[in-house]
């Protein structure tokens, strides 16, 4: 079922100028809880509080600042911030194209379906061209006063626009400074074989949030005033480094 469009704009590159509408592609529904004060069960609100005075700060007393150095900030007016983001032109500008398979999924933030407004011809030609080449267009646009970068791709029968995270928002793996540990050829071989044995096609429909059903049951039990049996979370015993090969061999035997 198609939801309402959340934004309208024009997709542009070269001589192409296509009016499009953005639709959400994902919807999350789950059991949700409120956070209450233990003492009196009053529903708590999430608010911005002053780190120094420890009091809630209303919107009109909030300001934006850039951390210049430790404890020093440069205050910015809303006008300054607007200047830092490009003007809201309703233009989705395509700057360049990349091999869609090269976009690391770590960057993908949120996907939208694009609906053509007016003529479908140009839209379908672009979807076809991107699909046949396996290419994605990198584009920028401004929506709700925020500058976005995104990937324009063929998906299903149409075009999709996926908002990407800015590169400086993604923590580089190098910064984790993980230890280099030598591995034996045998360990690598057996682990490789094991992965081979456990490989299957990606079928997301196989998986459902089973926890939600159990959570629903827990809530029903509580509503009936039943006592809940407390089960402690079980932690698996880590495989000792000198038992790794043995555990891999046993695993392979189990699945083969």
């Amino acid at each position: 079922m198609a939801g309402r469009a959340i934004w309208k704009g024009r997709l542009r590159f070269g001589s192409i100028d296509l009016p499009v509408k953005l639709h959400a592609a994902v919807k999350e529904e789950r059991i949700s809880f409120h956070l209450l004060h233990k003492r009196d069960q009053v529903k708590l609100k999430q608010q911005m509080v002053c780190a120094y005075e420890k009091v809630p700060v209303p919107l009109e007393e909030q300001a934006r600042g850039f951390a210049w150095e430790e404890g020093k900030y440069i205050l910015l007016d809303p006008e300054d911030l607007e200047r830092a983001e490009p003007a809201d032109s309703r233009m989705i500008e395509v700057h360049e194209f990349v091999d869609a398979g090269r976009i690391d999924p770590v960057f993908l933030e949120r996907a939208y379906y694009l609906e053509p407004e007016g003529s479908q011809k140009g839209y379908s030609a672009l979807a076809g061209a991107l699909g046949e080449l396996g290419a994605a267009g990198l584009c920028t646009w401004t929506m709700r006063k925020r500058g976005y970068i995104g990937a324009l791709q063929r998906g299903g029968k149409g075009l999709r626009l996926t908002a990407l995270r800015y590169a400086d928002e993604v923590v580089p793996a190098r910064s984790l400074e993980l230890p280099q540990i030598p591995l034996s050829a045998k360990e690598l071989k057996i682990a490789g074989d094991l992965i081979g044995q456990l490989t299957a096609p990606f079928e997301p429909g196989k998986f459902a949030d089973e926890h939600q059903a159990r959570l629903r049951k827990l809530i029903d039990q509580k509503a009936r005033g039943q006592r809940i049996a407390i089960l402690r979370p079980r932690r698996l015993k880590p495989t000792a480094p000198d038992r790794l090969l043995e555990a891999l061999e046993a695993s392979l035997k189990k699945v083969a």
Binding site: G14, V26, L36, L75, P105, Y166
Partner: protein, 281 residues
């Protein structure tokens, strides 16, 4: 919509290990067949590296997001809060952390790899939020092995685990020697594009081929940092003007955990200011 995203992992659990970067959000074990690898889940996305802090206009102290009692306006620390399931106006069923963990006692401490997949088969629509897994004590070697073998085979692990109110379907992939965990949407959360994208394709082969030519001419490597740099440049230009006017304000001293700033950006900016001064001389 914004709030939904920030509440991705339940605030209570997310703040259990402190708020700084590199702090564990969760700790548990990866189960890879009969191999068990102790790990910690840490952030892979750090919004705010180039964004601005919210400050209190009266004393320039940074603002923090906290749970507040609406009656007396006091901050309520996590240990004084409890989850409530709403059953009517101001009526809640209380659910404790222990009860919540009892729902799926095994999965709440185990990331269980159920199979391996080729990531190229995953429709990008499924990706939600990335994290890193780092090895905990004693798990370094098995972690290293899993990372290296996934790199060589170009496969990713598909796993499930429970965190707070939700069971997550996740992909584990190898990236520069580290394990990345990306939460995936369930297929029932993916909306249909019916009625949005055109049904039949009005094929205009000529136009399609013309576009293919243009696209091929402009194809280049995926270098997302270029766009971040553009944005950074605009912010730097803006701030330089401000600094010339001497607009820096001082915040009262706060706890050390709140003092972190986007150090690298500041350095670049200070460097460029020094350079500008030198050129003026």
């Amino acid at each position: 919509m914004k709030d939904r995203r920030s509440a991705r992992f339940p605030a209570k659990l997310a703040s259990a290990g402190g708020e700084g970067a590199g702090q564990g959000i969760w700790s548990g074990t990866i189960s890879f067949s009969l191999v068990a690898i102790p790990v910690q889940l840490v952030k892979a996305v750090e919004p705010g590296r180039v964004s601005f802090r919210l400050l209190h206009r009266t004393d320039y102290s940074p603002l923090l997001r906290r749970m507040v009692c609406p009656e007396d306006g006091r901050i309520v620390p996590p240990e004084e809060t409890v989850r409530g399931y709403e059953v009517g106006p101001d009526k809640y069923l209380l659910v404790t952390d222990q009860e919540l963990e009892s729902v799926s006692p095994k999965r709440s401490r185990t990331i269980e790899i159920v199979e391996f997949i080729d990531l190229r088969e995953v429709d990008p629509l499924y990706y939600d939020h990335p994290y890193y897994l780092i090895p905990a004590r004693g798990g370094e070697k098995a972690y290293r092995l899993l990372v290296e073998v996934m790199r060589r085979t170009q496969k990713a692990g598909l796993a499930k685990f429970v965190l707070g109110e939700r069971e997550y379907l996740v992909a584990l992939k190898s990236a520069e020697g580290a394990l990345v965990l990306i939460t995936l949407h369930y297929s029932e959360e993916i909306l249909s594009d019916e009625g949005i994208v055109p049904e039949g394709e009005a094929v205009d082969a000529g136009e399609r081929n013309r576009l293919k030519g243009i696209i091929q001419e402009r194809i280049s490597d995926f270098k997302p940092e270029r766009y971040a740099d553009e944005r950074r440049k605009r912010i730097l230009e803006l701030l330089e003007k401000k600094v010339k006017k001497g607009a820096a304000v001082e915040a009262p001293p706060v706890e050390p955990e709140e003092g972190e700033g986007p150090a690298d950006l500041v350095r670049v900016l200070q460097e460029s200011m020094r350079k500008a001064k030198r050129e003026r001389r």
